[in-house]
């Protein structure tokens, strides 16, 4: 057999921190504040919708909140899904559902945590539900810095130094990708793939000096 090293051992990591994370790891890596909604969601008749463009963290918020309600079904509507009866439902990508089906769901005696590209406020009011909308827009340097740090620690192989992303580079990434977290993490995946040793990432942006 060939003499091969353990994955990312040269970076003191076990995997690329910016690869796709599993649904089990998502809550521990999420940098979100959702505790304030937990109490209200324990009673029926309340809907919390996370609104935002793709890559802004809607699913991350849903999964982080679901940590408090592990029994609650999480349904993602890119595929056709049966909608079970439950006191609390996590519904992701509800913009794919026909309005008539959404109307039937919202008329149930349940609470909902919703991830959506389009605002369902009117439908929720019509259904007689109390609701709160959280608009997810962009990301700050501090917030993204925390996400990056948490990801790198999660991938850490052992004690000692690991590669980092300086604040100046985080600022450049936010500008370049207009705050699209998913696109930024995807870019960092490639940057970490290219690292040959433990060093800080230096982002080269097309057209910049």
């Amino acid at each position: 057999m060939t003499n091969m090293r353990l994955a990312y051992a040269h970076l003191n990591l076990r995997w690329n921190p910016f690869g796709v994370i599993s649904i089990e790891d998502a809550p521990q890596l999420a940098v979100v504040e959702v505790e304030e909604f937990v109490d209200r969601l324990q009673r029926p008749g309340f809907a919390l919708q996370f609104l935002g463009e793709p890559g802004r963290g809607k699913t991350t918020h849903l999964l982080a909140l679901r940590e408090y309600f592990p029994q609650a079904p999480y349904l993602h509507f890119r595929e056709k899904a049966e909608i079970p009866q439950a006191p609390l439902l996590f519904l992701d990508d509800t913009q794919w559902l026909p309005a008539s089906l959404r109307k039937r769901i919202f008329s149930r005696q349940s609470s909902f945590v919703i991830g959506t590209l389009i605002d369902h406020s009117k439908e929720l009011i019509k259904a007689g539900m109390q609701h709160t909308s959280v608009c997810l827009k962009g990301v700050t340097v501090d917030h993204l810095g925390l996400i990056i740090k948490r990801r790198i620690e999660w991938a850490r192989r052992g004690p000692g130094p690991v590669p980092g992303v300086p604040e100046s580079e985080i600022t450049r990434l936010i500008q370049e990708y207009n705050g699209d977290t998913r696109a930024i993490l995807s870019r960092l995946y490639e940057e970490f793939q290219a690292l040959e040793g433990i060093t800080d990432v230096k982002i080269s942006i097309a057209g910049s000096v």
Partner: protein
């Protein structure tokens, strides 16, 4: 250090194992406080990581401690384990796809709030080489290069592209002009023109190409053998066709490739990523006008280097092998066919 620490330690320092080989090691539990350990067990399995959603396979758990044990402060206990490695999948470290094996130790302690602790360590199983290692490796002596001296390794020339652009633009302009004159709604005409141009480009043009090929030649034989092989083996590609009309033959090309495919589904996004992990191309240049009735054969041998990754198929992550055969003519886009093959692990 916390009050207790769990660690998986392999007996073999390089943590590298063959298929169906015994893996042995120990789970070490260190404590800095008196406690009761209810249970210790390990499980082992493979997992993908990279740009696709995680796929995994888990073996049966092995119990190392079933009865409660009292540990004094500062005590260290070791629990040996051994198991036989399964016969796949092999460890693979690529660009967008990695497959790794892990042993995870779990302990259930008699402590409040966080009674379950775990430690996970990776090991290498029946490994394949990375792309860098493959490209830096000299050709294996067992692999003979193609006997035909006219068949040379190298990337095949691209199809002529300009005719496609001019053709597409021409169709579009014609359609826009046609609909504009009759309907006088320019934005609508442009959209309609684009749609019709798309239909022509995607369906009509390929149909014309197929008809053109059918008129000009006939494939008598196309064989890729074997359909299943091992790293270090060779794929033989045989293509034979007969011309029906006069035709200008530019070149033949055969490309053996392995492609990492990773599908990421998260939130409102579904993305498919592809990365070429292995590629060997051979080209035979003709640049010759052929008369009708000529029988042309192209035989080529493509090596799968030792250590090349095996075919891997899971829900969101694949390594796909294929052979693409292409006949290129003057001016027209070439005829091509891609045939999947399977590379088994040694």
């Amino acid at each position: 250090m916390s009050k207790y620490q769990l660690q998986v330690v392999f007996d073999r320092k390089d943590r590298t194992y063959r298929f169906n080989e015994e893996v042995s090691g120990k789970v070490v539990l260190d404590t800095r406080a008196q406690l009761t350990c209810r249970k210790i067990w390990i499980d082992y399995g493979w997992r993908t990581h990279g740009k696709g959603n995680q796929d995994k396979g888990v073996g049966s758990p092995l119990n190392l401690l079933s009865e409660a044990a009292q540990l004094r402060s500062g005590e260290r206990r070791e629990y040996p384990f051994r198991f036989r490695t399964p016969s796949g999948p092999a460890t693979y470290h690529g660009h967008i796809l990695n497959v790794d094996w892990y042993v995870t130790a779990h302990a259930h302690l008699d402590i409040p709030f966080r009674p379950n602790i775990k430690n996970e360590q990776d090991f290498l199983l029946g490994i394949s080489m990375s792309k860098d290692e493959l490209s830096s490796r000299p050709q294996d002596a067992r692999i003979k290069l193609p006997a035909d001296p006219d068949i040379q390794p190298g990337n095949p020339p691209k199809d002529p592209f300009l005719p496609k652009i001019f053709g597409g633009l021409g169709i579009l302009l014609f359609l826009v002009a046609f609909f504009s004159s009759s309907l006088r709604y320019y934005a609508f005409s442009l959209l309609l023109g684009l749609f019709v141009a798309y239909l022509i480009y995607s369906y009509v043009f390929p149909a014309i190409l197929r008809a053109n090929w059918k008129r000009k030649f006939e494939i008598n034989d196309l064989r890729i053998t074997p359909a299943e092989l091992y790293p270090g083996d060779r794929v033989t590609c045989r293509l034979q066709f007969q011309t029906k009309r006069k035709i200008y033959l530019d070149h033949f090309a055969a490309t053996l490739s392995a492609e990492e495919v990773a599908i990421s589904e998260g939130g409102s996004d579904r993305s498919e990523f592809k990365h070429v992990a292995y590629k060997q191309s051979y080209v035979k240049s003709y640049k010759e006008n052929l008369i009708a009735g000529r029988l042309i054969s192209f035989d080529c041998v493509l090596p799968v280097l030792p250590g090349a990754p095996a075919t891997f198929v899971s829900s969101h992550n694949d390594i796909k092998w294929s052979v693409k055969v292409k006949i290129s003519f003057n001016r027209w886009p070439g005829w091509e066919k891609t045939i999947p093959i399977t590379v088994l692990r040694r």
